[in-house]
Subunit: 498 residues, 2 copies
Amino acid sequence: MKQIYEQFKKEINAYKYALWLMGWDDETEAPKASKAYRTEQLEVLYTLVYKLEMDEKRLAAIDQLAKENLTGPFKREIELEKKGIDQLRKIPQAEYIAYQVLISKSSQIWAEAKKNSDFEAFLPTLEEIIVFQKKLIKYLETDTLKGYDVLLDMYEENMGIKEYDEFFKVLNEKLVPFVLKTAKVKQKFPSVLLKGSFNIEKQKQFNHRLADILSYDLKKGVIKESVHPFTSGVVSVDTRVTTAYREDLIDAAIFSTIHEMGHGIYEQQVNPEFDGSILSGGVSMGIHESQSRLFENMIGRSKAFWDTHYPALQQIFAKELKKVTAEQFHLYVNRVKRDFIRIEADELTYSLHIMIRYEIEKALFNGKLQPKDLPKTWNRLYKKYLGLTVKNDAFGVLQDIHWSIGSFGYFPTYALGSAYAAQIYDVMNQEIDVEQCIKNNDICKINRWLKEHIHQYGKLKTPKEIILNATNKPFDPNYYVDYLVKKYTTIFKAYEVN
Amino acid sequence: MKQIYEQFKKEINAYKYALWLMGWDDETEAPKASKAYRTEQLEVLYTLVYKLEMDEKRLAAIDQLAKENLTGPFKREIELEKKGIDQLRKIPQAEYIAYQVLISKSSQIWAEAKKNSDFEAFLPTLEEIIVFQKKLIKYLETDTLKGYDVLLDMYEENMGIKEYDEFFKVLNEKLVPFVLKTAKVKQKFPSVLLKGSFNIEKQKQFNHRLADILSYDLKKGVIKESVHPFTSGVVSVDTRVTTAYREDLIDAAIFSTIHEMGHGIYEQQVNPEFDGSILSGGVSMGIHESQSRLFENMIGRSKAFWDTHYPALQQIFAKELKKVTAEQFHLYVNRVKRDFIRIEADELTYSLHIMIRYEIEKALFNGKLQPKDLPKTWNRLYKKYLGLTVKNDAFGVLQDIHWSIGSFGYFPTYALGSAYAAQIYDVMNQEIDVEQCIKNNDICKINRWLKEHIHQYGKLKTPKEIILNATNKPFDPNYYVDYLVKKYTTIFKAYEVN
């Protein structure tokens, strides 16, 4: 049985590698005019690999193996495979294919609607997607997993409404008042940073140092550009990242690079023995995001980081940054602005954008909210949690791609990741002196700690086990709120002194 | 039958697209540490597509279609497919696979031998390759195609020993004496060009203009970097090129870019209806090389080109090129040096490097030369045709990769391409004013002529038909020699005046 399973795996891996590379190429450099031809080839390969994955011989082998007394990583591998095929088997194939066709067109309809800030143009498509998602829930429900929990569990094993409600309750009670209070803080920045124009070639000079600073391994990775930055890994030895430059913002590319390298370092440090099996790569969206946020915010936005690396940046932008001090720059990269757009949000307010989306998704799937009422609810919640009046749907309910591709249950993992990061950071800091590592240009020591406690496992442990294993405690959102309140209290005090 | 054939084609195309992209990625950006994993996936996909291509149902469909009364492009498509499978069927599968294994390792053995200038270390492998090539000839021989002609025909349909002998005879009689005479010409160049250091970022600024200048279509292509420049096209809408920068040579990347764009423009202009069939892409190595050489030498190294575009280059390298005139630069990019290395050879002496290789291959396959005697023969011929004493095998017989991957019969097409180019250029110049097009920055007019007379056909016509169709005459090597002698007589006179 194992032999049959492994033979299928070998072929499936080859298809998946090809599909992965075609996706990466499509997002980064493929010529525009070749899109239609490439899509045809993708469809052929997807069909072939789907046939292989659902081949009766393979399914039987997995069913059989799941009954055997397995041990070690192979036991977990088969468990995950079994969970995957059991889910797929529950969805009628015709419906699944019809949904794939819908999804392949819906993001373009969304993009067009967003461009025109026209929610009504997107609504019928969105309704269709939600209808399928509700059917999907029915198909996949188990004794222990019901309703919206089915979707949540897809992105983060063992995280459901109960857990997220507790999490967001803490944010609501402790973070929202703090955020609303910060409206009064007067943040002042050197005008060159606000109205600056920063040559992209020069930005690249600094950005190319980041791989070295963070020990992102270029023998196992690539840094490239794309419209939206992302990380794309297929095995530990091939995990690539992209960044995006903005001439008007000196720090946009820096933090998108650090963020993606956080994702990249995670996958590069997974046990290479898992390469080519379902155990490779990150375990969940939440744990993945915890690593990118830890690098982006706790390392990249720290005072120690800019005390150490600002001189190099200042040297590159000698004219522009002549009068800007490291301290001013550190305050600038931690600027807070309650604003409309999630992906441009700062560290402090980011999770409130997520809280709003979670509340909406929950209401959509328990029937308390109809899709047509989304804009109204959206705008009400932005007023309540962020004190903002949304002007139009492009800056409101239409801003994110996720719902247009059926990714319901995904958003909460973004906030969860930041919260995981705070808890992990707290423990790590008790074991190694993180600030000193940053100052000594010795971040690889941090990476080693993360590898030992988190990265190496890939999907061998569940997210819950990972957190327990790394921090000796179950997940506790108070770490996150405490971290934010402490950090930003210090930051805001600095304005008073300066 | 057609339906069966088309169904296979659809699947085969998807595999080929994936394999093509994996090859492109491997040569340009894939991380080094992922090589082994990628090779495994490549092997799996190669095996799968080989099975499909040799599937009995597909072979039977092609056999049947070949007997039918087909017309138009599909007739030629089936002829080419039939020729391909007939050849493959003649080679015993076990031998074919053993040879693939040999070839997959041999280029590394060659690279190591070249590094150490140690021909003996490469000899046993080379002998094995030649043994297979001789067997291959036996398997593929027909009534009309015998011996070395079998190999030559693989790279250029209808070109055999008889045709190449005539070609090289003209070169030998008219070009060799001219080249040997040029030893006396005193070429003088501004020292900044000879000992220069040219910032690569600045070089890129100029190189990125070339797509626009030559009308290489970036909606259907990509420009990237690789160790050795190359062009890689899969369909007319996806034909990518690479270039390679050298800090010490201001013109290395410029001409490698123009050369590869010549290849790229050819494939981009093939009838898009051929995309996904064997008819897409260039018809032969010779015709392909004619297009790259036409762009590189006849357009890129023309006086009109540098009168038009030198000011932009001079502005980028304001300090370095301050005192260098357009005329001096034009002479510099046409400098002649009889030297050891083919890929660094100038336009005038290039084909003599090829003549030497052709003479050697011919002797290898008619039994007059044993592989062990290759260095001796090589060195003798370099003395005879180029007046050079080869110092060691790294600069001699080991310099090229071709023989190490079994590419016998390939070299002659390089010289043939340059000769085709001269004949095509001559006719084109009678129909449109090429110099004026270059001066008016209107090279797309040249492209349109080439599209109409050559490019659009892809593999629909044979190379012989292409030449006859475009120039109204069969191939005649005198165009080439006359072009070279006339061009370089003018160039060398310019040194006397200046």
